[in-house]
């Protein structure tokens, strides 16, 4: 089986080309460096099966970050390269092309975004380009699928170039200059309205107010869509489900199975938040409390990514993030983290140094509340008023800033400057946005639901064995004395390790005051990430850094809990 690898600069539409070739679902965004993991797929041509790999975007074969190292590894394993090139930016893209050709592997060139060259007044002579490089060149439009039949047909023509030989850095640019003069003609283009908007969104005076407006309207939109989904879709669905669940409950009769599947009936009825049964809380929390916001969040995120706004946001926030030992790139993991911390931690790979990755992952886990955590905060404090909710988020914000400043001092290593290409604004394609949202939601359900079931199961078992009471006694000094909470809050804090959102049902019946609940929810978001995030952090950071991060989290939780008790409870 042949290994075909897609190579190209960041943000040239490689991932869309990949999904065109394989029919696979791949997420591509108008943001450099989204493909941190490579994707694999299969393609059948005639009777032969090929393996296709989508390598992370890279500017050269001399790697300068981890994503580029992965790309080089992929390159070395390849039998055939499809070099995807942005036709609107041929000159710069050719640098990688030459490097690839110098290594004498069979190559076919896909001139992607071919349609945009016309608007931009660029004309490229395909025949001359083929002659200069001595490899097949196919114009493609990944988004519409134009040119892919051709690409597919001509893959067999891919061959090592016999005109390009290994050369020095400078000679490479001279060679590129030669090719460009020969092959490409650019007619002058007038600046358009979009250029104006592009510049306004990146100049500090206009860019900052715009960023504030954009972020707040995005947050507003997420909560708006989330609420609509709950009131008009998920709540009615569960109303239909309730008689069915009650029926099961009466059939089972009192006993262990009833407690396990349905949970404790409250006033003889199912309370979806507090009952803690596999078939009640275990389904309700992920579907009716978290999923609606996840759907809303991921659709907004997809629009953000595809429009090309995020690199501009990175530029604007770079100065701030540098104070925390990272740079503007860190906006992406933080943003993703608001949906779910797991992809957020994975996205820290695009940061260049170990220090940056460590700080970003730790800050994410401590103070960026994912949708499950948000659902918990709203679920617990919502009934008491918005003020308490704001208090939690304000605390988290302060924690983010302070731990960022502290970690920047504490962690050794450097934090290099930002260097990032800003893609032009593009109109997000509705179908792509929907597809991306759908894939991410599916991924979330696959990851989250097993842990939720596990969490519910574990709680019920631990209660039955009496472990929970023992734990309460053990941690009573910290939880009662230092945090000022009632000692029954211990199991809620413990189970928060599995799923934060489950803690709602466990904290509500304890009869704590609103201020105590503020402390409890803040601690739940700060003290530990959920087990999923924990696992990816372990994978990304390694055992030593993970221990450091964990110690930092536990320390932060202790400090914050104490301070909050003193300020909020006055004891």
């Amino acid at each position: 089986m042949k290994k075909i690898v897609l190579m190209g600069n960041p943000n040239v539409g490689k991932s869309v080309v990949f999904s065109r070739l394989t029919g696979a679902n791949v997420i591509a965004s108008n943001y450099p460096g989204t493909t941190v993991d490579f994707s694999k797929g299969k393609m059948c041509r005639g009777r032969e099966g090929h393996e296709i790999i989508d390598a992370p975007g890279t500017y050269s074969l001399e790697p300068s970050n981890r994503a580029e190292e992965v790309a080089l590894e992929m390159f070395n394993q390849a039998d055939l390269i499809i070099n995807v090139v942005d036709a609107t930016n041929l000159e710069r893209n050719l640098y990688l092309t030459l490097q690839i050709l110098e290594r004498k592997k069979p190559v076919i060139l896909a001139l992607n975004m071919w349609d945009e060259t016309h608007h931009l007044g660029i004309s490229i002579d395909l025949e001359k380009l083929e002659n200069a490089l001595q490899i097949p060149v196919v114009p493609t439009v990944a988004l519409s699928g134009e040119g892919f039949l051709d690409l597919n047909r001509r893959i067999d023509e891919a061959r090592p170039s016999n005109t390009i030989h290994p050369m020095q850095e400078n000679d490479r640019w001279i060679k590129i200059g030669e090719i460009i003069r020969n092959v490409q003609q650019v007619t002058h283009r007038h600046h358009t309205l979009w250029d104006g908007i592009s510049e306004a969104s990146i100049r500090p005076l206009t860019g900052f107010p715009l960023a504030v407006v954009v972020i707040f309207s995005a947050l507003w939109f997420v909560s708006f869509i989330g609420e609509i989904l709950i009131t008009h879709l998920f709540a009615p669905l569960f109303d239909l489900y309730t008689p069915f669940a009650m029926d099961i409950s009466t059939r089972l009769g009192p006993g262990f199975l009833q407690v396990l599947l349905i949970g404790n009936l409250i006033d003889g009825r199912i309370d979806y938040v507090q009952s803690m049964g596999l078939l009640t809380t275990g389904i309700y929390v992920p579907f009716a409390m978290v999923l609606p916001y996840i759907i809303a969040f991921y659709s907004v995120l997809a629009v953000f990514e595809d429009s090309g706004y995020l690199p501009r946001l990175s530029t604007l926030t770079d100065t701030i993030f540098h104070r925390f030992g990272m740079h503007g790139f860190a906006v992406i993991p933080v943003f993703l983290g608001f949906g779910c911390n797991v992809p957020g931690v994975l996205a820290t790979r695009t940061l260049e140094t170990k220090k940056q990755r460590f700080i970003a992952a730790t800050l994410l886990a401590i103070s960026v509340p994912c949708m499950a955590k948000n659902a918990m905060v709203f679920g617990i404090l919502g009934p008491y008023g918005v003020g308490y909710i704001i208090l939690v988020f304000a605390t988290l914000f302060i924690v983010f800033v302070v731990s960022g400043l502290v970690l920047n001092r504490l962690i050794r290593g450097d934090s290099p400057e930002i260097c990032l290409e800003i893609p032009p604004y593009r109109k997000p394609d509705v179908a792509t946005v929907l597809k991306k949202t759908w894939m991410r939601v599916l991924w979330f359900l696959k990851e989250a639901i097993p842990f939720l079931f596990l969490g519910v199961l574990l709680i019920n078992l631990l209660y039955a064995v009496g472990f929970v009471e023992w734990l309460g006694v053990l941690f009573a000094p910290v939880i009662q004395g230092w945090f000022g909470l009632s000692k029954e809050a211990a199991p809620a804090l413990l189970i928060g390790f599995l799923r934060k959102d489950l803690a709602v049902g466990m904290l509500l019946p304890l009869g704590m005051s609103p201020m105590q609940l503020v402390i409890a929810t803040t601690l739940l978001t700060v003290y530990f990430p959920c087990v999923g995030t924990f696992a990816v952090m372990f994978k990304e950071l390694g055992i030593r850094d993970m221990i450091t991060a964990t110690a930092f989290m536990a320390g932060t939780a202790l400090v914050i809990g104490g301070i909050m008790r003193m300020i909020l409870l006055g004891i």
Binding site: E62, I202, E417, C419, E421, I422
Partner: protein, 114 residues
């Protein structure tokens, strides 16, 4: 090591050189009759103005990194935006906007304005 001379000036020497640089080179040269221009970093360009890159001050890796992004000698470069507090600099080359750290942009030396 001082890049332009090849001699190591030592910490004190470097400080003196930096002061001289601040005094004589880094100033905006607005009132010079005849419009004589000296070399200056791209960060001293006025917002929206274009000039030609004449030099990249830095080692092999820096020049390579810039080259990959399209920032090379002889290219026209336009300053799109300067972020405050020594923040990143946005430049435009070949109709593409690129964000550079301030320190990096300071090492991109331009000549006459276009």
């Amino acid at each position: 090591m001082n890049r332009s001379t090849g001699y190591d000036l030592g910490p004190f020497g470097r400080k003196i050189l930096w002061l001289l640089h601040l005094l004589f080179i880094h100033r905006p040269i607005s009132g010079v009759p005849g419009g004589i221009r000296m070399e200056q970093p791209v960060t001293s360009l006025e917002q929206g103005k274009t000039a030609v890159i004449i030099r990249l001050e830095g080692g092999f890796l820096f020049r390579k990194k810039m080259g990959e992004m399209g920032i090379r000698e002889g290219k026209s470069i336009r300053l799109v935006a300067l972020q405050p507090f020594h923040g990143p600099v946005v430049v435009e080359i070949d109709e593409r906007e690129i964000t550079l750290g301030h320190g990096m942009a300071d090492r991109v030396i331009i000549g006459d304005m276009v």
